[in-house]
Structure formats: C-alpha cells, structure tokens
C-alpha cells in the first residue's frame, strides 16, 4: 500500500502520499485525483502527463493549495522538507508559495495583470513575503528582480513595460522570473509553453532548464506533449482517470512502457519515420462522475482480464524505479 515511487539514493524534496481531490458538481462528486503518490528528488525534473480529465492539473494545483472552491482535498499528504503543506494555516501556506514551492500556471502569460507594469508585479510577489519598505529592502528587492530577469534572458528594462507590450515568449519568461524570485525548492510548470510557437517554446524551455539547474530546484512539468516531456524531464508519471498508471525514468517509459495505457499512448504519437500510421486509443476517457469498477482503464484495455473489472490495481515497483499500476504485473518481483 505504502507506495512511493522514489529512488532511495537521495532524500526526496517533495513527497506526495495518497492524495485525493474531489470536485463538488451539480451532478455529484467528481473524484479528480484518486490516491496519487509520488516523490521528487532535489533538482529533478518530473513530468506528469495525461489526457484532459486525467487529474494532472488538479494534482499540481493541490500541491500549491490553489484549487477552486468547489474542490476538496479529501486526504493525503504533501510533504515539503518534512512539513505537510496540507496541514499549514492559510497564512503559513501563503508564505510557502513562491518561497518554497512556485507555480508557473497554465497560460501563464495571461495571468499577468494587464494594468500593472512588469516590475510592479514582480515587486508585489516579493513584498508579499518580506515586510519592510525601507531603502535597503527596496534595493534588495530591485537587485533580486534584476537577477531573476537576467537569468531568464530578459532585458532589465522590461520592468517598465506593460504585459501587452511584450511578446508571448517574453511574457512567459516574466512568469518564470516570478516563479524563481524567491528561490523555491520546487517549481510546478503547468503546460508552460502550450500557447507558444515551436521555436519560442524551445527557447523558453531551455531557459527554464537553465534557471532550474542554477537554482537546484526540482520541477514538475505538467502537460500532454510527450515530445516536450522526452526533451525535458528525467522521470514521467502517466496519469489516467485520476490515478498514476505508471511512473519511471523517461527513457524507460518511452522506449519500453509497461502499463497498457502507456503502451497505447506511446504508440499513438506521430513521428517523422512513418507516414499515415495512425494508432489512436480506442474508446473514451472514463467518466469520473460514474467511474468504472476495478481498473480505470479496463473498459479500453486490449489486455484486460476478467479480474480487471473488479480488482483495483495498486501502484507497485516491479523493477528498480519502475512503478506500474496494472494486474498484469502482479507477482512480478519487487
């Protein structure tokens, strides 16, 4: 039961245990995240992939405790340096955001305030955490902002710009700068480049990698672009129907996926080797209002066995650093 896909070598910086999140909807409760456990090594880049509705964004927002009001964290732990973020007071959590764990939200460039200059917005982020407005504090703040902008390769003069005066890639860099202002241990990036063109996407991701490495921060990259994952992360967690189907090193997941869903997902990816070779995953994503019994994937699974309709598979480590939640692997050496 106590499954924690983590390597043993170093102490993890973040441990998520048995996280469950439910949305209250007019049609009934929707369990968007269902017993998710994983951990993150210092400086590691972990990808959370899944289709829409798989729970990847809800998981990410839960770690920040930034869910919408209809969402309830039903259980679990989010341990950052041993402290359970889910137990912190609202005030302490506000302190932890940006300073300990930062978010670069989905469509981040649209999250900038259009009425405020970039510099003001960055200053606000710091002010929320540091009391005092004397000359020294102000000088410190400005120096910190300059360093952050420099590390994301923006000119210092952007502090005087309004967001609309910047290109999409520049706005995205401002959001990364905001994320790293207070040297967090963990950066969560939720589809940070989904609105950008490929060339700019590559530049922004390279910048993110550079600042993350310089900072020694760990990154959770949330998204559905397996190409981006392959190029950026060290490990991947594949989510399906609110659960982790498989967790493992990026090369292992892409070259040798174990969970039947991960196998179909990898096969469905277009490549530049073969033409007109389309392999979609048959069937539909599960309804979370009325989820299937047993394994969430069994109605679509080409390898389903009768037991899959009744038994819920646990996420187990079937070989070193490879965690799978599938009855096919039951009894594999762990």
């Amino acid at each position: 039961m106590a499954s924690n896909p983590a390597p043993n070598s170093t102490e993890p910086v973040l441990v998520v245990r048995d996280l469950s999140v439910t949305y209250r909807t007019p049609a009934g409760p929707v369990r968007a995240v269902n017993g998710v456990s994983f951990s993150l090594r210092p400086g590691e880049r972990l990808g959370l992939v899944g289709e829409s509705g798989s729970g990847k964004t809800t998981t990410a927002l839960s770690l920040m405790r930034l869910l919408q009001t209809s969402a309830v964290i039903e259980g679990g732990q989010v341990l950052l340096g041993g402290v359970d973020l889910l137990q912190l007071s609202e005030e302490d959590m506000r302190e932890a955001r940006f300073a300990e764990i930062a978010l670069i939200p989905q469509g981040a460039m649209n999250s900038l305030n259009p009425m405020m200059k970039v510099g003001e917005q960055l200053r606000d982020t710091i002010r929320a955490h540091r009391a005092g407005s004397n000359a020294k504090a102000t000088a410190d703040t400005d120096a910190r902002i300059q360093r952050a902008l420099e590390s994301v390769e923006l000119r210092a003069t952007v502090v005087n710009s309004y967001p609309h005066e910047l290109s999409g890639g520049m706005k995205q860099r401002v959001c990364i700068a905001m994320g790293i202002l207070l040297n967090p241990k963990v950066i969560i990036a939720d589809e940070p480049t989904s609105a950008l063109d490929v060339v700019v996407q590559r530049q922004v991701m390279e910048t993110l990698r550079k600042v993350q490495e310089a900072l020694g921060a760990a990154v959770i990259l949330v998204g559905h672009d397996m190409g981006l994952m392959a190029q950026f992360v060290d490990r991947i967690g594949v989510m399906y129907g609110g659960k982790l189907a498989e967790v493992g090193p990026v090369r292992g997941i892409i070259k040798d996926p174990l969970h039947p869903y991960a196998q179909l997902l990898i096969k469905s990816l277009p490549n530049l080797e073969t033409k007109e070779n389309f392999r979609g995953i048959p069937g539909l994503t599960p309804s979370l209002l009325n989820p299937p019994s047993g394994c969430m994937f069994h109605p679509r699974c080409p390898q389903a066995m009768p037991r899959c309709a009744t038994d819920v598979p646990a996420l187990v480590e079937i070989k070193t650093d490879r965690w799978v939640s599938c009855l096919l692997y039951e009894g594999s050496p762990s």
């Binding site: 490929v198 892409i254 389309f278």
Partner: protein, 342 residues
Amino acid sequence: MTSLLEARQVSRVFGTGLLNKTGTLAVDGVSLVIKEDRPSITAIAGESGSGKTTLARLLLGMIQPTKGEILYKGRSLTSMDRQGREEFRRQVQAIFQDPYESYNPVYKVDQVLTLPLRKFRLTHSKEQTHQRMEESLRMAGLRPEETLGRYPHQLSGGQRQRIMVARALLLNPRIILADEPVSMVDASLRATILESLVKLKRDLGISLVYITHDLTTAYQVSQNIYILYRGSVAELGSVEEVIKHPRHPYTRLLVSSIPLPDPDIRWGGGSEMDTKSATGTAHVDDAKGCKFVSRCPFAMAECRHAPPPLYRTEDDRAVACYLYKDHPTVSGGEMAESFASA
C-alpha cells in the same frame, strides 16, 4: 487538367485606414494550386503571424484579397454568378480549430448537422435528412446512436471535432480546409481524427488543405507542403523533401525545434541554427529584403536588398533563399502547378 482551387499571387493587407497608412501585410503574394483530378492533402504550415489562417480565409472566400485572385474551377470568386458561388460554398468546406465554438450549448448537436442541409435544401424529407446525417457521421467514424440527440457537453472533444468533419461531409464537398483541426485534442484522439481526415481523401476522393503549426502531423498526413513565414512562402514542395531535408534556414529552424518524443534525439541537436527571438507580422514598408534576414545565421548583403525569388532546387521543391541562387528561379504559380500535378 484544370485546377480545382487556386490562389494566384494573393496578398492581403489589414488595417489600412486614416490612422494606419501602411497596414499589416498578412499574406504576401502567395500562389497555391489544388488539382482536380487526383485527391491530395496539402499542408500549409507556419507559426502564429505566418498568415496561414488569413490564407485559409482567403481560400474560403471569407475575405477578399487586396491583390491577386482566388479561383475555383478556373473562375475567379469575385466574378462568379450566384449559382457558381453557391456551388463553391457547398463544395469547399471548412473545419476549424475549436469545436466548442461551433456549437450552441443549449441545442442538441443534431442542429449543427441539419442547418447546412436546410440551407442548401439538399434533402426533402425528415427521413432523408436523418439518413444523410447518419451517413456522414459514420463516414467521420462516429456511431450515430451515440451522438444524435445529445448536447455538446455530453460528447468528448474528439467526438465534437468529428461531428465537425461529419458536417463538412454532409454537402459532398470536393475540398475541405482544416485549420488546426487537432490542436485542441488530446494525443490519443489526435491520431484517430487525423486518420479520419486521411480516409476522406483515400475513400471519398476529397482533397484537403491542412493548416497547422505542427510539422509532425503535417508530415503524417500530407503530400505537399507550403512553409509560410510572415505572409510569404519560404519553401514549398513534397513533404518528404521539405521536412526530412529542409533547405530554407527558417524551415531548418522549425524542424530542429520540434520536440521529438525520443529522449535519445536531442532537441535542436546538430543544428547550427541560433534561436534569435520574436516572430511577428511584416509591415508593408519593412518588406524590402528577405523577411527572415534579422533571424538568419546565413544572412548576406543581398538578403537585405530585395526579397529572394523562389529557386527550384529539386523537381519537387523550391526555396525562397539566396543560398540557392545557383538553381533556376521559378514563379510561385508555376511551382505550385508543377508539384500539384506530380
């Protein structure tokens, strides 16, 4: 052999008026040919600001070119009579990026299918209408019993997008323009939708114009490709040549920026391309030389003086770049015509 749909040196300027004398040149002298005899899939690829969506709207007759003309079966859209225009509107259909926006949430999805049938008076009874709808849904890979009578929110994104394909099919089109049809769809569904588009060509003989920013899917579905940069064609030709062996520095930059789902192939690996920032649309007055010159690592003096013509580097490819000036020049129309018939 006539062409079915043709763009002849079309340009489109936006935003000229009292305050903005120059305007923005969204499409700049583009020629494109879709042949009548053999169904094909032609990709138009580019980043935001490349003019690909404006070109699509020009091809659909939704907006008028500032210069040049669009022809359907050899007749200019502007000089068509009413009957010709109705034929064009029926035979040239479109599928857009965001299926959500095409639905009215309070109506059942049946409505998006019955409307075009009613508008063109193609069916004459309820039974006929129903039968036609069911046929189209099946052709788009949907089960009518799982889709008809439902509301948009009761269907998945992939189902909604395929209903848009079914809607386009209702009218027996000759050509379908698909503008980013899978960019809002999850990976597992993307393959299924692209497959249904390829089937339209293969099984129903419909030609497609596939407009996208995604070179991987363009490679998957199309035979010919036009790479647009700031409103102009940078490179055009067979998709094998252009994507597997790109020649224009911009195409090379694009191809090397594709994040391939393989951790052993390094992103941008082996590329001498530097990644200077910022795309953008051209202003009419700054379009003196090559539009890519400020980002191009190979820029030469001549690149700043006049826009490069198309050089035909292979039978089935032409590149608008002075690096290839040893090759014969070719006009956009001639090249489009030639490789559309190849």
